[in-house]
Symmetry: D2
Subunit: 449 residues, 4 copies
């Protein structure tokens, strides 16, 4: 029997709090889960700094990846049962695509490292490129497993994740505005944070999904379930992913890694006890895949624990603020009040903080749903509803709620600064009192005024 | 206003998936949460190796500690509303005890380190002693916060955790057969593993709890809710805490740390890149509190990542088995089949494994509920039900289910060995085939025969 | 001790699937629950014909009324704890208002009869008037209990329900766009139908509610919880309350009661076995409160069971269609296609159906959220958010989602007709085939074309 | 295509709060659901008088029957996927049995009438016989649908329900100690009452179920899931089904129907307004199937509403106590205190109550789990676990919890009496005070002493 067709003698299950059970039927999938590259995802938190705000959200990318696999598996089952292709090109589901879809689902995040977003920003890594590399480099266990299917298989799986695979149904299962990835993380993040915003009716969405020649559509009778998903997604961004305190911890992390890079790239202190050996390749921007795969959340926090005792006071303080959770404060600003920020930065410098490391502006914007706009450089697939006569109709044309948030960026711009600036009495540092007062006069109702 | 009476201007909440919200009303509690010793608990998993079996169970001791605090807070609220003491010694609730109870609840696990059970076994640390030290040593932030209440307060809180505090109601809230600690971890572990065994009716149990002169009793009308809790606890032990694969990963961890201790205690390799600096004080058994507080799960796994590349093949292999999740297999044995184990070990040695590092026996026994037995060295508080005339009656005398499991150890004895011993074809190592076959003949239906 | 202050010796609880427990602390409340007028609500379904579509939704107005009481109780507790009035007129919460609020919450639906909406339409009853009558008529047990508080108390409670009570906080708890009534029914209907649309974060909404001089506002930090509630409400209307099949069963009920009224109002058949004695006062429009209080869902269906065997074929058929659940079918129409309806009715008549009893048009429109519009005859209270400086800001001005559905009627217009018109082969009634075909040509994609 | 093989063009779903969705794939099943005999189950509460104690439990036998169907469907799906029969008599699953299993599951309760238990006791009806009659009598719509499969099909379905069908797997799906019926009602009753006792892991139990030649067994690896189900069942009986207040309302119902039978069987008052025409055939014990099928919960309560105004004071009072929910009180007794009951009855008579209608003793006993006992007249199928070598082992031999409750009757004996006997001051009926006092002296801690 060819490897790819090999079924486990007995279906294996993983108990999962979100999907109840995750069902593994192919030896291939089990072998992928057991690779060291995949097991490494157990040591990388799904939500990064957001777990510092929502303490229950300590789940990892391992868990999420299994969930994306499971949703994809259920989509395939549904398509096979209800919309099996009879002749090539009939726009229905060809179940020979199942395995490439399942592998892409399971592995779509395998290139993620610790605190990816920030790490990439400082060290110019790219988790999407690394994902492709892990799949296609002959040195990895993942590649070795995938190669057992066929020599081309690793590239095929990679091309699904890169949205270049020829079958649009497979691509859209993994990457579209309503894909297995997004559906899993919304449900999972809602479950672990304990919020209710991210819940929607997965069973019903899966039920109304259907393949067609250009990808995946939804029966019009399921419009409200899809609408509910879009609204949930919007609310999760507003409430969880854009939370100011979480973004503030990311600002600290960013500055901490930046400072460490500056401190260590000279190499002078490379031999001291507790030097961050595993990060050196990144400080010098000469890393290979093996270097990357040694890193996880624990590696970074272990170095931070060393740095907390550093002789560089800024490095030590930023490490302390991150590990011991001392977030910066923030206020919103807009295009009119933006010009006040330099002045606020000056006040902060006066109060003794290096503005380069202790202030930041950032905005967090998400496009909650996007109907097709040919002018966009990288337009997202729009959500199509299929009517009873087979014609498609785009979601935002029938949903008032979705239409309301279509194509609109939501989010805010914030200015981050040390909490100390908001204190009202500073017995011990009376000196700064007038500076603080002056600073505070420019803030009102969470805005710079 | 004295510090201990200081209320937050606005009650603060933490969103929690198990209790919905955790309510903080005292500045003291918020200050304790913000200490570095408490924040460190974010980096220590609640369930250790069990998260390698139940992938959703990635929650930490931080989360659990907040939960124990919250349950204790609700008990105090209930007692204050329904059973306020009027005269000293009337056996009712004196709300002046609230603060010491809340602090003890929040801090009861603060001495835990990474993979405590195994770590303690290898390095002879003691998390209970360390808890007391963190509370009472003037060097910690926790002590500093507690001292602000009064010079004796740190010792008082510690004495609650050590069950020496004079008020038995406070002690039993935190430590008894049905305390805030157990109630939180059962619910929380059930939530994160996604199993249903650990669920019971917390609201109802809190409702039927009542103080009396010797501690805490339960109204007889709530008998079934208490019974359900005992049964849930029994089932969680059977299903989650005693899971053979989880125990097997702990065996590997145990042997890995043991081997590392042997490798590094000579000091020869203390200066190589990636040497486990933070563990040296423990290898030499000369550690202080600061050394201990630098450790967390990430520190250990970071060292394991280094060791996976060690020149000591046993150390490297054990590190690989732990990080990449390659559990040992196991079978049950009993007093009759115990004597076969030396022979099985010999077969394993023949197959090329060092039995010292690749086999183990362990049993996991729990006493699901214990009615008072004066002969026991350290008898547990029994669960008392209060009848409508005020008389007490012990739980197992009225519950058939509880009586069935009272005083009985449950659990099993297992022999752990490398998975390789179970393989049936070994094209590449045909050599070992007869050894494997011989080994396998002694196992049947999960037992040594 | 005055009756109103009388606490139960021990707080009584009712187990509730939505709120976990419902807590009763006053003897007054327990006495009201035990009146026969309140117990009667156990025999009146909350959702009427919707339970014929969502089979789990068999819950009654009794259950809902307890839930509204419980939410109101929690609001009062929160207000008392966090915003207690210190001086009259300070806009904070005066807990002397608690009892009138709790009674109004519990009794706000007490005037509902079986299938109220339809019943009122045919028999010109008015459940709001009857609610007031039950509270204030000396013949009821409810009035007797309320009078024990004070002679004016029944009128006071009635005035809250009628929105005439002077304290706007009390009125808005029970009747506003985000009141205890709506919050309970959304959660409860979602629970029993098994849909997820109606879930929102009740705990958080209660937490951000606060009294002010003109009623109840919400802290701006809770904006998203309020927004989520508005969206949930919108979705429940779309998905549950406006469901075409449920509306179709209501059309049948409407026509059935209409036909019965016509058949029986002559009085000729008043003495036959199984004559609907309890409905006669309504057929003749000469009913009193006692007549009304004898009716419940079971009374009507018992008569329907008799009518199913009636010699009037239309009455018998409509009774059969209702009891045995044979809904009419429906299609949407709009202002342009409206004029086709008379022609469709003619086809239906040709096929042998009396169009008066077998067709209907109806629209179901709801205003999902309404910002204040002084031109409206009966403007709804708008939802106000309170900023940190104390100023109010209206919800739709800050929420894109709410703004999208503010002041817009949602819903559709439908034409109802017998399912038979859609059949495609009628071996036995081949005669009608061309009529059916002709009829079907005017329908496409759920619309009249 | 033969009728039985006819699939719906599109699988139809019913939204269900317990199973999320109920999937209907055969036209046959949809046609059965649409019969008038099945729709009638919408008007018969699942839990009878227990809904007067647990107000959320207003669900009906309609809902439950759909649930039993759905669980059976899932079992068939699992058996077909994992254990398909290859040769007749191999002890595996023959999917030709699916339809008879599904029909039996759906229809197993179709013979239930209003408040069956009590109704049967008074009127000597038998819901099991009536179920068989509904299936096999040519006058019913159910029979007509079943006959479309084959002339023998109605009898086959009936024989499954009567446990006479030759295939033991089909029989045990519907009737055994762990069947689709019990599993649905435990989960559903737990959901609607809002208690947590009845929850167990349905998915896991379904997963470990497997057919074998003598019926259905469970893989030994699923032992704890099965154990948890047995314990849940035990607890639901203790907490919900045996609740004293619910039993007390059943006592009242029993006496009310008994009194009505006595009042109306003379026929004197058969022509008065509101006479219970639909019950006359039962008063005279001359009813046919059509008479029976006209009855539902609403019919009875409609007559009770008439009787509440009866000139017979006992009938009127009992009707009032039932409709307005005025339960009797009760105490436990045992074999030693049983002999005090006649004396207590005398006191009750002295206080003005007719002991025949106002007192009762009843016990409620359930055998929580029963290992095979050849001496029992009607032994229940025991629960068998299948080991990895294929051998069976009976559940109670490996589960300490199950063993504890195996073969033991649980429950209690209670004496019911009017609440008035417990009152302590009776300003208006001072006369009875000494009688009450004397009565109360014989009760202590919920027992007769």
């Amino acid at each position: 029997m060819p490897y790819q067709a090999e079924r486990l003698p007995r279906e294996k299950v993983f108990r999962d709090p979100v999907h109840n059970y995750i069902y593994v039927q192919h030896r291939l999938i089990l072998d992928l889960i057991n690779t060291k590259e995949f097991q490494r995802l157990r040591r990388i938190k799904q939500l990064g700094t957001a777990s510092l705000v929502f303490h229950g959200a300590e789940h990892t990318r391992f868990t999420h990846s299994l969930g994306v696999y499971e949703i994809t598996r259920r989509i395939c089952d549904n398509f096979k049962r209800n919309y099996p292709s009879k002749t090539p090109g009939d726009g229905l589901w060809d179940d020979n695509e199942r395995l490439v879809a399942l592998c892409a689902a399971l592995l779509h995040d395998i290139g993620h490292g610790p605190y990816s977003h920030t790490f990439e920003h400082i060290f110019h890594t790219d988790h999407e490129k690394i994902t492709a590399e892990i799949l296609t480099s002959p040195t990895t266990e993942v590649n070795q497993v995938l190669r057992s299917v066929s020599p081309e298989f690793p590239e095929q799986v990679a091309s699904v994740i890169q949205k270049k695979y020829p079958n649009p149904q497979v691509v859209q299962m993994i990457s579209s505005q309503i894909d297995a990835d997004r559906m899993d993380y919304l449900l999972r993040d809602a479950y672990h944070t304990g919020t209710k915003y991210g819940t929607f009716d997965l069973t019903r969405i899966l039920r109304v999904m259907r393949p067609y020649k250009d990808g995946i559509a939804f029966e019009v009778s399921g419009m409200h379930a899809v609408e509910d998903y879009i609204v949930s997604r919007f609310q999760m961004y507003q409430q969880i992913y854009f939370h100011p305190t979480s973004r503030s911890m990311e600002v600290i992390l960013n500055h901490l890694l930046q400072r460490a890079k500056e401190d260590y790239s000279t190499g002078d202190n490379a031999h001291e006890a507790g030097a961050p050996y595993l990060l050196f390749p990144f400080f010098n921007h000469q890393f290979n895949l093996d270097d990357y795969l040694l890193l996880d959340d624990g590696t970074l926090t272990t170095y931070f624990a060393h740095w907390r005792q550093s002789s560089d006071p800024v490095l030590a303080d930023l490490a302390h603020r991150f590990l011991d959770r001392k977030p910066l404060k923030s206020v919103r600003f807009n295009d009119e009040t933006k010009n006040k920020i330099p002045m606020l930065r000056q006040l902060i410098e006066k109060a003794g903080f290096d503005a380069k490391y202790y202030t930041e502006t950032n905005n967090s914007y998400d496009l909650p749903y996007d109907a097709y706009d040919p002018k966009m450089k990288k337009p997202m697939t729009q959500i199509e509803l299929m009517q009873s006569d087979g014609h498609l109709i785009e979601l935002s044309t029938v949903s008032a709620l979705v239409s309301a948030i279509t194509g609109k960026f939501s989010g805010d711009q914030r200015f981050f600064f040390p909490k100390e600036m908001l204190e009202d009495k500073q017995a011990d540092v009376e000196l700064f009192d007038p500076i603080y007062k002056s600073f505070q006069r420019h803030l009102h109702n969470d805005y710079i005024i």
